[in-house]
Amino acid sequence: MFPLLTLATFLPLVGAASVMGLAGRGGSRAHGISIATTGLVFLVTLAIWARGTAPGGFSQIEEITWIPSIGAAYRLGVDGLSLPLILLTSLLFFLSAIYSARVDDRPATYVVLMLMLETASLGTFAALDALLFYVFFEVSLVSMYFMIAGWGHEDRQRAALMFFLYTLLGSLPLLLAILGLFLGSGTFDMRVWVDAPQLSGLAAMLALIAMLFTFAVKIPSFPVHTWLPAAHVQAPTVGSVILAGVMLKFGTYGLIRFAFQMTPAAFSQAALVILVFGVFSALYGAFAALAQSDLKKMVAYTSVNHMGYVVMGVAVAGLTVDPQLRAVALDGATLQMISHGLVTGALFFLVGMLQDRAHTRAMDDFGGLLGRVPWLGWAFILSAFASLGLPGLAHFPAEFQVFLATLNIQPWAVLAVLAIVITAGLYLRAIAAVFLGAPNDKWAAMPDLDRRELWVILPLLALIVAVGVAPGMLLGMIHATMAAL
């Protein structure tokens, strides 16, 4: 079988190499290569989707020896958890490449970093070897650091530094956990670790705590979320889209793949604590978002809220022995990752487009924009409604399943539903402040979305509706895997 996963993972690097080879030929060439490469990668991931996954295991395995003496190998594969995330990743990078076409500050370097980041992101989701996973996981930090430091806003150096130090501190405990699992099993093959627990007792609990720390920073979950607002606010628009849409999913993906699957007994013991953190994150993120007047920061905090629901879903799945309920919780959590990628991706793009025009993100600077820029306005309103969980849009089927399982397993935790009310309030307030009310004459000449921007935003809006109306197109694949966990 042709190694499509490897092709998808490393095609961006090939694109990056050709951009470097043609350096100095101007920005449009670099952006052209970037759009072509990411588009091609997206098509390849669609072909991977067409090949399908096998229920109850990994499929499309690609394997080459790497360091045989310690059982590390180049191993890729997909299942119903990783494939949707791979699709999301390739889509968001494709749209980001289109959006970036206007970047004229050192475009070649920018494109190279973005393509490196795509390889790292796809590799993180596709890796079936823990050492390889860690390699991709960390490479993403390096690319994102340079992206924020090089193309971010006013206070970018500090934000980039904090992002890199914080998340490196966050990810190193995972390396310890991986080494612990390796010493317990003699291999880095994640399939072996998933099939049977390699650690037990205290060792398993220590490994779990290390993993939870890593993934909590990445998700980010209260109280280790503090890097996120700084990084988001200073990052360039595409940086924010990738950070929120793709890189936060490393955390929740790891939570299921590593913590839940590899140390199941310890996870069950700790699940109640994890649930408390999830509920608190959901509420905290909503309240913190409510307090923001900066649109981008507000969207950033709603990520803390939405990712909190994912944590809740995984935690309640660890608390029940009923396989059906567990599958519902995990289905909801996984779908929530996809929904969040689509919706938050759209919101960050839209805030970025607004900022490109107005050079400000403060809500109070705007007003009555809906009449001036109807496309932008309605796109934002639709995305905001999706973000607050309106039925028929992407978040609803995901959050519904999470809450359904929670209600059955730990009814008190449905307290987090309060966060949805707050989210509704804050989005309505933002819509009112920016798009409704008296028009501000300052923006009388603001242009509406151009063709390039529509190409970016319309596919996301269509998918937000599609996932909301027909979540079955993803849930079938997700459920086949989750029901077997």
Binding site: T65, W66, I67, P68, S69, I70, L131, Y134, V135, E138, V139, L141, V142, A149, G150, Q157, L161, F164, L165, L168, L169, L172, P173, L175, L176, L179, G180, F182, L183, L206
Partner: protein, 455 residues
């Protein structure tokens, strides 16, 4: 017969010794370039001659010298590393007075380094310490200016004192076992005081050479006083040799003497002190000097696992190879950019390719995958955890974050706008460019081909 057999295993060492001698003759004839070429050829030949004995797993001269995996890989790392250092030295001091003596001294010090990494006997270890020490003092003092003389004096005095302590302490081991062989140490467990006296001696003597806390004081001064290329050489070759000598000595020392805990404590102190001190440096050579001190601490994670666990020796070898490449590379960039942190401001924009090379070296020193330094650190952490030192692995990880802070200071400066007053940075000449190319390639690619290394 026995003599001929023993000598046949020593062909790399003998080749290097003869090479050093011929280099001295070339220097006497005032032909420094010839001395350099002889040196490079001799190193290449010695490297090639290492392959037949790489997996011999034997000892020669009655067990005093070990031809084993560690000493074999030590040659494969130290000999090419020395060749790179020779190229750097040529780039820095070409045409200056007494140029060839530097090359000959470097070859001699490397001979001492090989003896250290193969020593199976305390006498041979002392001999290695003395040979590397004498050559190194002369190398540091070579420029004959005030800074170099002061640095060499500090180095010499420090070396003499620690050397004396070492020899005195080692006499206890001889008294306790009746033999100078390391292999006799396996029975020393029931004489804890004697074991401890010799242990302290080894730690003082070799710890000084490896620049472990608290025997590191000479290192930043010596590196700063010496030519940059000599600092680069000392920071990798003599340091690695000392760490390999540690490994040879501790292989036979029973863990019941408590040495792994002592090493673990020194490791924690060395890593933390090295990076904390590096964080406040404003001169690049000193910054990298302190960073090299911290890196020594990481090596100790592998060293303390020598008593148990299969990852110990591979971890020393893999991280050793990575360390030689990335540290030599970082020093090579300093030779191009300048000795002050301020010289690096905007350097990445002014010299993009050399700048990217520096970023790769620094990220590899931090341990960011998939670079070679990361693979080495995975081995080291694995070795420490398998030996039961999880707490030390956690300290090492916290220090990796500190390391990133240290190295990001350089990276951030490199991509700031260049001060208007600053002159354009120097260009990397062909020799430095060659060294940079080789070290970048190793740092980048060997992480992917780590399967070629022992394990």
């Amino acid at each position: 017969m026995g003599m001929a057999r023993d000598l046949s295993f020593l062909l790399p060492e003998m080749t290097l010794g003869i090479t050093a001698f011929i280099m001295l003759v070339a220097e006497m004839l005032r032909r420094p370039r010839l001395a350099l070429l002889i040196g490079l050829a001799g190193l290449a030949l010695a490297t090639a001659l290492t392959f037949p004995v790489l997996n011999a797993g034997t000892t020669v001269f009655g067990g005093t010298y070990r031809i084993d995996m560690l000493s074999g890989w030590a040659k494969l790392i130290l000999l090419p590393g020395t060749a790179l250092a020779l190229l750097l030295a040529r780039a820095e001091i070409a045409g200056r007075d007494r140029e060839g003596s530097v090359y000959a001294l470097i070859a001699l010090v490397t001979l001492g380094a090989l003896m250290l990494s193969g020593s199976g006997d305390v006498m041979l270890m002392v001999l290695g310490v003395v040979l590397t020490g004498l050559g190194s003092f002369a190398l540091v003092a070579w420029p004959r200016d005030d800074a170099a003389t002061e640095a060499a004096m500090k180095y010499l005095v420090f070396g003499s004192v620690t050397g004396a302590v070492m020899i005195y302490g080692l006499s206890f081991w001889y008294g306790g076992t009746g033999s100078t062989l390391y292999s006799a140490l396996s029975g020393i467990g029931d004489q804890p005081l004697i074991a401890m006296a010799g242990l302290i001696a080894v730690i003082v003597g070799l710890g000084y050479k490896a620049a472990l806390f608290p025997f590191h004081f000479w290192a930043p001064d010596a590196y700063e006083g010496a030519p940059v290329s000599i600092a680069a050489y000392l920071s990798v070759i003599t340091k690695l040799a000392a760490l390999f000598a540690f490994a040879q000595a501790f292989r036979d020392l029973p863990t019941s003497t408590g040495w792994p805990l002592v090493i673990a404590l020194i490791a924690a102190a060395t890593m933390s002190y090295g990076y904390l001190a590096a964080l406040v440096q404003t001169r690049m050579v000193r910054l990298i000097a302190y960073s090299s001190i911290a890196q020594s601490g990481y090596f100790l994670l592998g060293l303390l696992a020598i008593g148990g666990g299969t990852l110990a020796l591979p971890s020393l070898i893999v991280f050793g190879a990575a360390y030689v490449a990335m540290n030599l590379g970082a020093f090579a960039v300093i030779m191009v950019a300048g000795r002050e942190l301020e010289d690096f401001r905007g350097f990445g924009r002014a010299a993009p390719i050399t700048g990217v090379a520096m970023v790769i070296f620094l990220l590899s020193l931090t341990g960011i995958p998939p670079l070679f330094g990361f693979v080495g650190k995975v081995y080291l952490f694995g070795a420490a955890i398998s030996a039961g030192y999880l707490w030390l692995a956690i300290i090492a990880i916290l220090n990796s974050v500190l390391a990133l802070a240290v190295y990001l200071r350089i990276i951030v400066a490199m991509y700031q706008p260049r001060p208007d007053a600053a002159a354009a940075p120097g260009q990397a000449g062909p020799l430095i460019a060659a060294v940079l190319g080789i070290t970048v390639l190793i740092t980048l690619v060997m992480g992917l081909f780590a399967g070629l290394l022992p394990g």
